[in-house]
Amino acid sequence: MSLWLVLAVNSITLGGLLFLLSAGFSLIFGLMKIPNLTHGSFFMLGAYLATSLIARGFNFWTAALVGGLLVAALGGIVERLILRRLAGAELAQVLVTLGLSFMIADVCLMVWTGDPIRIDTPAGLRGATSVMGLGFPTYRLAISLIAVIFAAALWALLDRTRLGAMIRAGVDDPAMARVVGIRVSRLFTIVFCLGAWLAGFAGVIGGPILSVYPGLDGEMLPLALVVVILGGTGSLVGSLVGSFVVGFLYNFGQAMFPELAYVVLFLPMLIVLVVRPQGLFGRQTV
């Protein structure tokens, strides 16, 4: 019984992390129409940067924010210098993000070497908390809470602010958005940086649970892809639901069929693609 509970909590935690990762991916795909294959690398890079910052004495949360900002800055440079040059050639943009992911991964390997690095759970969130008479690791609860806060914040951004309205317009109909006067290219940069920040931040937050190691990017990217395929691109609700579905599938799958974790992921993706290619909540076909 308690094993299932532990798995459930872990699943919610992973789901929360995945949401932070895939919300950015989904927005970038929805607005810019490119699957950003650098997204896994952003996640990993954020975590690596935080380890260095923490080693220099920064506190965990500062490292998380700053790590995210550094990744966002990199994202901004990439978008303005390279992706913008290829505006309109979406396939070329995808290939560029792929090439960049290799470059970033190799640089990380060079700088931080091949050994996995643990990030310590931030002080104050260690140990267990008692909820309804059961003990849960405090940090995992914290991650879930953070994910919920960000979900709400992103929803508020998209639904309540002008920026959000412009993003939604750009996702729905970029040509029309331009006609109406929305500076779509500037929007692209903002969204790309936001997505990169979320990915980097998520990497740091996930550090105490996943650690950082070479190959982390290759493991997180397909999870984000499956989330977006399941939940639909450009949809925040879809990312949320998809993240938790994937979180549960992956954890339970790993526990029950340790060798088949990826196959378990595969099946719902298969079903969604066959039955409803635009994902559970997406509007346009992928």
């Binding site: 795909f29 979406e90 290939l95 792929l98 060079m110 397909p222 196959v263 066959v274």
Partner: protein
């Protein structure tokens, strides 16, 4: 004239073990041929059908793993080859059905996911694939009793398969079906209205592409006598795609040249720098940004550009307003 050049080129390639210096280079030459077959297969989909797949290393690997497993189970070379290819075709049908639910970037995304799942299986399903430790096979096959243990022997066997691959591609390209495939790349909507079954055409192109990727995979298994998850990683799919785009998708020569370039670069780079992945990524970015048509057409264009500076240009029709390139 072109035919003469072609025969000459083939003759030079066939004689490679004789003029290339040393067994190391003969092995590199074999690698180039194997990857050329793989790249040609990927080009059928990317270049002729306009469907860019980043998951084809999955098919390449499924063939190799399939063959390795059959060999470990004690089967003979015929069963290993046929069985490996059969498994690959089934997998290709599966991949195709799923990824053709979308086109364009959705297609790319789904192939990435599929390729990564194959990698995840290769890495994690240890009882099936031996995980990171990979599977070793005893030795190379002996078709018609001939030994392929020597580098030169293996090279010539690979060369024969390479010729078959190139011939099949050349025939396909010139055939009505080949024209159908290219039509769906340029004007899918119109092709539909003209009576072509666009999905089926793409599906069959995918199978054809998967078949040759599988052939390359089995050859690689025999070459390396070892298969590991590295073969199905995203970097592997990216490498073969790099071969296709660096050589250029519009010709048969392009992927072959691209394979040569990337294999040589990889071998040279690994000898001098440990940062192959970085170089791979950088070249990808550079080619996509600066030479999107690939090196073969790019160089041809540069040549013409140079010539055109000396000759007046013929007037060409400016595309009129209202021209569409259809999807």
């Amino acid at each position: 004239m072109k035919r003469l050049a072609l025969v000459a080129a083939l003759a030079i390639l066939a004689a490679a073990p004789l003029w290339v210096g040393g067994t190391y280079y003969v092995n590199v030459a074999s690698q180039i041929l194997i990857y050329a077959i793989f790249a040609l297969g990927v080009n059928v989909l990317a270049g002729y059908a306009g469907l860019v797949s980043l998951g084809h290393a999955g098919l390449f690997g499924i063939a190799a793993y399939g063959g390795a497993k059959l060999m470990s189970a004690g089967h003979g070379q015929v069963v290993v080859t046929v069985g490996g290819l059969a498994v690959t075709l089934v997998a290709a049908a599966f991949f195709a059905t799923l990824s053709l639910r979308a086109t364009g970037l959705g297609f790319v995304m789904i192939t990435v996911a599929l390729g990564q799942i194959v990698w995840g299986v290769a890495y994690r399903w240890i009882s099936l694939t031996n995980g990171d430790n990979g599977i070793s096979i005893g030795g190379r096959p002996r078709p018609f009793g001939l030994s392929l243990a020597s580098p030169a022997g293996f090279y010539w066997a690979t060369f024969v398969v390479f010729l078959a691959a190139v011939a099949s591609m050349a025939i396909l390209v010139a055939s009505p079906f080949g024209a159908s495939v290219r039509g769906t790349r340029d004007q899918a909507r119109r092709m539909n209205a003209l009576g072509y079954h666009v999905w089926m055409i793409r599906f069959l192109a995918f199978l054809f592409s998967g078949f040759w990727s599988g052939v390359a995979g089995i050859l690689y298994l025999y070459y390396n006598q070892f298969v590991s998850p590295q073969m199905v990683a995203l970097t592997a799919s990216a490498e073969v795609l790099l071969m296709v785009i660096s050589g250029g998708t519009a010709t048969l020569l392009g992927p072959i040249v691209g394979a040569g370039l990337v294999v040589v670069m990889k071998n040279v780079a690994s000898a001098y720098i440990e940062r192959w992945n970085f170089v791979l990524g950088a070249i990808f970015v550079a080619i996509v940004v600066f030479m999107p048509d690939g090196l073969v057409p790019g160089t041809v264009r540069l040549g013409r550009w140079g010539l055109a500076a000396w000759r007046p240009r013929a007037p060409s029709a400016v595309p009129a307003p209202g021209e569409d390139d259809g999807r």
